[in-house]
């Protein structure tokens, strides 16, 4: 440790609680004494006064080239990034509107739904009772996003009802810094709604001999890639849209075709809901709920006989005997993998 001299700059008693005026006077006196140092260092010193330097006889370490450049940038052109633009626009580097990372043009900051858009989606689903698929197709918003918007709006309503305060200032600030998109007839499509996953089996070229006369369709192509590979038509998230296009092609009135589409989506949603309902009902039927004073006991009926020929079947009930238990082995995930 270098020798430290108690100079007359600051009385030692006040070191721990230097008022701003004193400390700034310290640093200014320091700046006068060390006027031979580069300018960037001095400005840095006045910004974050460190009184302790005043008592050391060793010369303070200067900044290297990179650090100096950084300080110059932060104090100079970097200042425009300190505060949001205030015009409801993003404030990315290089003045870009959609590229937060200057050297990666392949990542884009895509717009998010505006508050009004979320409200629109919520009212379409919850108040007008439109099927999710129809809402998704109408606003060109992914079905999963529609569901998520409704789910979170619902939580929002609950908060409102219970008087829990929102993070309103935060929400407003964030919305002012993000690219925002509204939903309306004049707006461009928000996102593609009929994405299909590219199966790894379909990523390779397959040599499939076929007669020249063969009408080789998408269904045949899917079979050629693998027995279980579904054709694109079945992987579509909203296959009813294809039917809608076909109807329009056949010359059916757009209004009628739309009505048919709405009906079809409603039917498919009903069918989906029915299967879910049936599944839940089946699970519930296997259960008996008994209320004790403190807890509810849920008895699930099982079949104790399903233990396999050696009593070690995987799906058998309970902790198995004579089978090593791998839950603490290396590489096994030891934290929850799902929350229901």
């Amino acid at each position: 440790m270098p020798p430290r001299i108690h100079s007359s700059g600051c009385p030692p008693l006040l070191l721990n609680c230097v008022p701003e005026s004193i400390s700034s006077s310290c640093s200014s006196s320091l700046a006068v004494r060390s006027s031979s140092r580069p300018l960037a260092w001095m400005t840095a010193q006045t910004q974050s006064p460190r009184c302790a330097n005043n008592f050391s006889t060793t010369a303070p370490r200067g900044l290297n080239k990179v650090q100096r450049k950084m300080r110059e940038w932060i104090k100079g052109p970097g200042q425009q990034f300190a505060e949001p633009t205030g015009e409801g626009k993003p404030n990315y580097l290089m003045g870009s509107t959609d590229r937060p990372f200057p050297i990666n043009p392949l990542f884009k900051s895509q717009p998010v739904l505006s508050d009004g858009a979320r409200e629109k989606i919520y009212s379409a689903v919850m108040e007008r009772g439109m099927p999710l698929k129809a809402v998704s197709a109408r606003y060109s918003v992914d079905m999963r996003r529609v569901a998520a918007v409704v789910r979170m709006k619902e939580v929002e309503r609950q908060w409102e009802a219970s008087g829990k305060p929102f993070a309103k200032p935060y929400a407003k600030a964030i919305q002012g810094m993000l690219p925002i998109q509204h939903l309306g007839p004049d707006e461009p499509a928000f996102e593609p709604i009929n994405d299909i996953h590219v199966h790894s089996y379909t990523m390779q070229q397959v040599f499939q001999p076929a007669a020249e006369s063969k009408h080789f369709t998408r269904v045949d192509a899917a079979k050629a890639f693998g027995e279980h590979i579904l054709p694109a038509d079945e992987k579509m998230r909203i296959p009813e849209l294809i039917q809608l296009e076909r109807d329009l092609e056949l010359g059916i009135e757009p209004a009628d075709a739309n009505k048919k589409f709405l009906e079809a989506t409603r039917e498919s949603e009903k069918a989906f809901a029915a299967t879910k309902e049936a599944q839940l009902q089946r699970e519930e039927d296997r259960k008996t709920r008994v209320e004790s004073g403190r807890f509810e006991f849920r008895f699930e009926r099982i079949n104790a006989g399903a233990v396999g020929h050696d009593g070690r079947a995987r799906g058998a009930v309970g902790w198995r005997y004579g089978v090593p238990f791998n839950d603490r082995k290396r590489g096994v995930v030891k934290i929850p993998t799902k929350v229901e």
Binding site: S292, R298, F299, E300, R301, I302, V317, G318, G322
Partner: protein, 119 residues
């Protein structure tokens, strides 16, 4: 030798988990039993999005086998008795807040699951 219906503790430290087993009374707790008829997770859990703070416990049980073993004279331990009495396989041993009249009235619901199980 006496056959018992009892709990065998598995799980980990501070994380109990029980197999409900049918075993010879003199065998070790965690040795291979005659039959595993269910499991009992004694750690109470809340439901997601349930703000009421109500907790539940999960039990899996083969009611048919339990009824069979009770029928052939297997002796449940107190804890197992309590569990089996909840689904109506046995009469509750201990009901502190009930008058004898009330206790008699509990018999019909106790019989109800039995009839469904038999069917």
């Amino acid at each position: 030798m006496v056959v018992k219906i009892r709990l065998a503790r598995f799980g980990r430290l501070n994380k109990p988990f029980y197999n409900i087993v049918v075993a010879q009374a003199r065998t070790a707790r965690n040795s291979r039993p005659l039959e595993v008829i269910g499991t009992y997770d004694p750690v109470p859990k809340p439901d997601s999005y349930d703000a009421s703070g109500k907790l539940h416990k999960d039990i899996k049980l083969d009611i048919t086998r339990a009824r069979y073993w009770v029928g052939v004279g297997a002796q449940p331990t107190d804890t197992v008795w309590r569990l089996l009495s909840m689904v109506g396989i046995l009469e509750p041993k201990h009901q502190p807040h009930r008058t004898p009249a009330q206790q008699q009235s509990t018999t019909p619901p106790a019989a109800a699951p039995a009839s469904t199980a038999a069917a």
